[in-house]
């Protein structure tokens, strides 16, 4: 039982990080039909922003984080939208998918070329101590990750449903044309979702990099998990992405321990295929209607 709880919490913690990346992914899809194949690299890069801030500019950790957050919002949010997504709005989904595959290569190779191919240690948010709850030794780090994830998601939810801007963003996601008629600045709302995505990936980077170390190739697996989480939960629902991420983290951890480490990816992948074939709108998603 203690083992079970331990695994569950650790799974929820990693799942929470996947969920952060997946939420950003679904936000971009909802407002601008952007499928970001570089989402994994989006999580990889801010970690290097922090490292560069600390090693080249001698910033303390917290300052480097703030700088990295601003830089992510500029590059991964603003520039990504203005330079890559906007010019391609009329090309349909596939060219943009391919452009983001190109972007992923560019980011990966850029980091490898300019920072090196090694795995760099990254300052953790908490000491590596354990807290004992009901006989289960839980790592403090997992609990903090889980706490921060929940906090971030709740804050985002409150923002989306509680503020005027948030509701305008929801309207934009639901139906851009009607939103525009109602006088909502649709363009600006879409930009906000890109900025929020940049902040979310920065947060995910802070949480996951201490565990995986900072490496240029981190994005490959992370991106895959973010897709799977988004699709399992439902592409067009934020809470779907959260549920998808958490479910995925738990499945992943249990597979690794109880079934096979070598095949840990298989269960999520098979799950993904089954979901797409039989419930393409995801566990919580709504069916998207298409006109012919």
């Amino acid at each position: 039982m203690a083992d079970f709880i331990q695994l569950l919490i650790a799974g929820l913690a990693t799942g929470g990080i996947y969920a952060l990346a997946a939420v950003g992914f679904t936000l971009l899809w909802q407002t601008s039909q952007t499928i970001n194949f570089a989402q994994g690299e989006f999580v990889m890069l801010p970690a290097f922003f922090v490292l560069i801030g600390m090693s080249f500019f001698g910033m303390p950790f917290w300052l480097a984080c703030v700088a990295a957050l601003i830089l992510s919002m500029i590059t991964l949010g603003f520039m990504f939208k203005k330079l890559l997504v906007d010019p391609m709005l009329n090309h349909g989904t596939l060219p943009l998918v391919i452009a983001t595959i190109g972007l992923a290569i560019l980011m990966k190779e850029g980091v490898r070329e300019f920072y090196g191919a090694d795995a760099w240690p990254f300052p953790p948010l908490a000491e590596a101590t354990n807290v004992t709850v009901l006989g289960a030794a839980l790592s403090l780090q997992s609990l903090i990750i889980l706490g921060i994830t929940i906090g971030a998601v709740v804050a985002l939810q409150l923002f989306l449903s509680g503020t005027r801007t948030g509701r305008q963003m929801q309207a934009t996601a639901l139906n851009p044309s009607v939103a525009r008629i109602l006088g909502i600045p649709v363009e600006r709302m879409i930009l906000y979702t890109f900025l929020i995505n940049a902040a979310l990936v920065m947060l995910a980077a802070l949480l996951i990099t201490p565990i995986y170390l900072a490496k240029f190739s981190n994005g490959e697996l992370l991106g895959l998990y973010a897709f799977i989480a988004a699709i399992i939960g439902g592409f067009n629902q934020m809470r779907g992405a959260i549920v998808g991420g958490l479910v995925l983290g738990v499945i992943d951890n249990f597979t690794a321990v109880y079934i096979s480490t070598q095949y840990r990816l298989v269960v999520p992948l098979v799950f993904l295929i089954i979901i797409i074939l039989f419930r393409p709108q995801g566990l919580l998603g709504r069916v998207e209607e298409r006109t012919v």
């Binding site: 090309h91 595959i101 095949y263 992948l269 797409i276 074939l277 393409p280």
Partner: protein, 334 residues
């Protein structure tokens, strides 16, 4: 613009053929090896171009078929099977697996299909890596023999290069014939507007499956040749990266253009080797090129050339490839 597009195309083609024929005498053995790799990758990309460029079905699983073909040839030839039987087997088994992988395409389209095929590729890769009794896992299969043709040994690099080139020529001719046939037209009809194609009596179901199966079969053939070329295979080359790379080859060259895969493979296979000194910068430049192409000319390099050479006044009646997504209405996601 006095020179017609057709003249230019024929001239470019003739030059390329002459170059390919004399190339082995211009390069060191390593250069011949790289050219051979180009031939093999072009065959895989031609297959993907059938699936993606002509029939409009996104597939991120081509590397899996190259892998299956490679492992079939590697496993059987090292156990004494003649190359040709493993070659046929590689082609047919990939054809069948590709047919089966086509079924999801009947239910979902575009990005969903991309994800299903992506998952399939990763699953196949995991099997290559983990089933050591079959594939020897990360240790790989060594000493894969090269074939003989009518008693002539193809073991030396230059004869083997010509052997591959002959393959490419035959496969190109067959693909060309296929595209010109009613089948090719049916593929394009399915890409452009599946619902309209269906209402005109095209059996979209069968052609969708066939597009997948043929693309996969060519992937298998390319894999079989690849195994004989490199003579040592392990799971690494067949990961998702190669699938993405093949997809980029088709798109960069010009998806839906017959010569798109040839050009795409030049950019993705040959140029990086010749621009070795640039190393990682080459890949960054390549990535930037992909993005620029997608922004300014989603029909790829050949689409760009086409646009440059076509007089603005009268539109040419030549191929009119569009990326599958832009025109076709999405098949209902539900």
């Amino acid at each position: 613009m006095m020179v017609s597009k057709k003249t230019l195309a024929v001239a470019a083609m003739a030059l390329s053929v002459v170059f390919l024929l004399v190339a082995p005498f211009l390069f060191k053995p390593y250069g011949v090896f790289i050219l051979s790799t180009w031939v093999v990758m072009t065959i895989a990309a031609i297959g993907l171009n059938l699936t993606l460029g002509y029939a409009g079905q996104v597939s991120l699983a081509q590397a899996a078929f190259v892998g299956i073909g490679s492992y079939i040839t590697a496993y059987l030839t090292t156990r004494g099977w003649p190359f040709w039987s493993t070659y046929m087997l590689a082609g047919t088994s990939c054809f069948i697996v590709g047919w089966l992988l086509g079924y999801p395409a009947l239910r979902v389209q575009h990005h969903y299909l991309a994800f299903v095929t992506l998952a399939f590729n990763t699953l196949v890769y995991l099997i290559f890596r983990n089933e050591e009794w079959l594939t020897r896992g990360i240790y790989g299969i060594m000493n894969i023999p090269r074939p003989e043709v009518l008693g002539w040994s193809m073991a030396k690099p230059i004869p083997f290069y010509y052997f591959l080139l002959a393959h490419l020529a035959l496969i190109s001719a067959a693909t060309w014939a296929l595209i010109q046939s009613p089948w090719g037209r049916a593929f394009i009809a399915v890409r452009e507007n599946p619902i309209r194609a269906l209402s005109l009596g095209v059996d979209t179901r069968r052609y969708t499956l066939m597009a997948f199966a043929l693309g996969a079969g060519l992937g298998g053939i390319s894999g079989s040749l690849y195994a004989a070329l490199v003579q040592f295979i392990d799971p690494t080359p067949f990961a998702l990266g190669l699938s993405l790379n093949l997809l980029l080859m088709v798109i960069v060259g010009g998806s839906g253009y017959f010569f798109g895969p040839f050009l795409g493979a030049v950019v993705a296979v040959l140029l990086p080797e010749w621009l070795r000194f640039a190393q990682g910068y080459y890949l960054m430049g390549y990535a930037a090129l992909v993005m620029l192409l997608m922004i300014f000319c989603p029909t790829g390099l050949l689409g760009f050339a086409d646009r440059l050479l076509t007089p603005k006044a009268k539109s040419d009646s030549g191929p009119n490839p569009v990326l599958p997504d832009s025109a076709a209405p999405q098949k209902a996601a539900g």
